[in-house]
């Protein structure tokens, strides 16, 4: 049984997702939120297993919210849901701790599968092409490269901190910096 919270700023998307997912056995859409402000109380009220998170929300992008969700204890699994067909958002999504990234044009069965996978603790992320990784490596500070490599490889932040012998808080801060640099500008997509 997957307890799900849907975060999307568009009413048609929220209604569509709720209708479709309610009919799918094993998935319970508990509530929807339309913005960052809306998310906080809903999250604490519902305590979902999985959050289906729109990549672009007014005022705050999905990456920032994803980072915040992953700091919750216990942290819900996060499936980023994006309307952009562009692979350049894969690396920032991984850095933000997303468990999955799915395009909004994917048919419903793909969405069910992705939700079940992230609920199991699997990652549903497209492979990171070599040139994307190279581009990301060039965009971030060279001292951040080990963190980038480990996180993209799927290493949890606590293990990264342990391996580098630095506090978890430092790793988090540097991840935030990297996400800021790699952020996909919506207007440029």
């Amino acid at each position: 049984m997957i307890r799900l919270l849907i975060v999307d700023d568009h009413p048609a998307m929220r209604a569509g997702l709720t209708a479709v997912l309610r009919a799918e056995p094993g998935i319970i859409p508990l509530a929807t939120a339309s913005s960052e402000l809306d998310l906080e109380p809903t999250l604490h009220r519902t305590k979902p297993d999985v959050v289906l998170l729109d990549y672009h929300l007014p005022g705050a992008d999905g990456l920032k919210l994803c980072r915040r969700l992953k700091r919750e204890v216990p942290a819900p699994a996060v499936l980023l849901y994006s309307a952009y067909a562009d692979s350049s958002m894969v690396v920032p999504a991984i850095l933000a701790g997303a468990d999955g990234l799915l395009n909004k044009s994917a048919p419903a069965p793909e969405l069910y599968d992705a939700l079940r996978a992230v609920a199991r603790g699997d990652r549903v992320l497209p492979p990171v092409p070599r040139e994307l990784m190279e581009a990301a490596g060039q965009a971030v500070d060279s001292s951040d490269l080990p963190i980038l490599a480990m996180v993209v490889d799927g290493t949890p932040i606590s293990e990264v901190a342990e391996a580098l012998r630095i506090p978890v808080r430092d790793v988090s801060r540097r991840l935030d910096g990297m996400i800021e640099r790699l952020r996909v500008e919506i207007a440029a997509v």
């Binding site: 799918e24 044009s105 069965p109 092409p129």
Partner: protein, 389 residues
């Protein structure tokens, strides 16, 4: 309707040639004034001859100036025009000449067409020449410097050309700036309008289509008979095509082709991708000019194919061949890379949208192994501009 159009076109001509219009009006007035003065007052012994020369020279000079208005050597014509006018002044025998206003009109084109510094220098040069003419007429008695009225008249004659030139040059610069500012603000308004439409398309319409696609795709195909199954498939493919269309429109609104030819854009894109150092891209041949929608989709298909080749084909060389044939334009992108995975390839989003775009413009898209079974070839056959030949 026709009358209105004619009136508008006259106005447009006036606006485009406003300085020439000013020249024509003032020169005709100047010539009439000169002829009247020549005929009413006795100025020289050859007044009627001078009047006839003025009456003939005015249309001839205007015609010559009009013909050479845009020529590179127009300043030479303006200089000759000024010299001719000064010649008339000289022939009048006095620097307080009936041809003074006529002579001033020779300043209009240089003052408005030359850069303003040159224009002012031209005005000063004209005043200098007028001073020389005044000396040549020998109507500058020695008391000119002490006789207030005489001195004032001479100073006015020498100063007015500079004032006229400076004023005209200044107006011309202002008009030019005004036009540039208006063009700029129109461009900005258009751009922000495009951004707004793009945003609405992306933020609202596309989200609704995504929602509709999601809901339809959630229907269990097993619950339908054969016909219902077909309808469901059709609806899904239409919704996918709608998304692809909207993506094209959004991309087009954000980075419009701006009516630029597809081959030029493709050469630019190829040069950009070549810079990444992953593969060499050659663009051969030319495409005919395509209708805007066809051009936009054709360009995006080709750009997507290029990006795919560079990203996924592990190739060293990509050749883009453009061609124009009577049955329609052709566009082929071939690489020497690893080729597509064998078997039924699950069509990725990129390939799906390429097919969607091709369908939208009624083009044939073929994606398969390249020549000799090596690499991948993407061939797009565009429909004939006039429909099926």
């Amino acid at each position: 309707m026709t009358g209105r159009r004619r009136e508008l076109s006259t106005l447009r001509t006036l606006r485009q040639h406003r300085w020439f219009a000013l020249l024509s009006m003032t020169r005709v007035v100047g010539a009439l004034l000169a002829v009247a003065l020549l005929l009413v007052h006795r100025v020289t012994h050859d007044d009627p001859l001078l009047a006839v020369i003025t009456a003939l020279w005015t249309p001839i000079s205007l015609l010559a100036l009009r013909q050479t208005e845009d020529a590179e050597w127009a300043p030479a014509v303006w200089a000759l025009d000024a010299l001719a006018a000064l010649g008339l002044v000289l022939a009048g025998g006095d620097w307080r000449s009936p041809f003074y206003v006529f002579a001033l009109t020779t300043l209009i084109l240089p003052a408005t067409a030359l850069p303003w510094r040159t224009a002012v220098a031209w005005g000063l040069g004209f005043s200098g020449l007028y001073g020389v003419v005044a000396l040549l007429t020998q109507k500058l008695p020695v008391d000119t410097l002490t006789n207030t009225i005489r001195l004032e008249t001479l100073a006015t004659h020498l100063f007015v050309p500079v004032v006229v030139t400076t004023t005209l040059a200044y107006s011309s610069v202002l008009l030019e700036r005004l036009r540039a500012a208006r063009g700029q603000s129109e461009r900005l308004a258009l751009q922000s309008e495009r951004q707004r439409i793009a945003w609405e398309l992306h933020d609202s319409a596309k989200q609704r289509v995504h929602a509709a696609h999601l809901m339809v795709s959630a229907l269990d195909p097993r619950g339908f008979d054969h016909q219902g199954h077909d309808l469901l498939g059709g609806a899904l493919s239409e919704l996918r095509a709608a998304t692809a269309d909207m993506e094209t429109s959004v991309a087009e609104l954000r980075t419009p082709l701006d009516g630029r030819p597809v081959d030029e854009l493709l050469r630019e894109r190829a040069a950009e991708l070549t810079l990444s150092g992953l593969a060499r891209i050659d663009v051969l041949g030319r495409l005919p000019l395509l209708p805007p929608l066809v051009a936009a989709h054709a360009y995006r298909i080709a750009a997507e194919a290029l990006t795919n080749a560079v990203r996924h084909a592990a190739c060293t060389k990509i050749t883009v061949t453009l061609g124009d044939a009577p049955e329609g334009a052709r566009l082929e992108i071939a690489d020497d890379g690893v080729g597509m995975p064998p078997g039924d390839r699950p069509s990725g989003h990129g390939l799906r949208s390429m097919h969607g775009r091709a369908e939208t413009i009624g083009a044939q898209l073929h994606i398969g192994p390249g020549p000799g079974g090596r690499g991948t070839s993407v061939a797009l056959a565009l429909p004939h501009p006039g429909g099926t030949p």
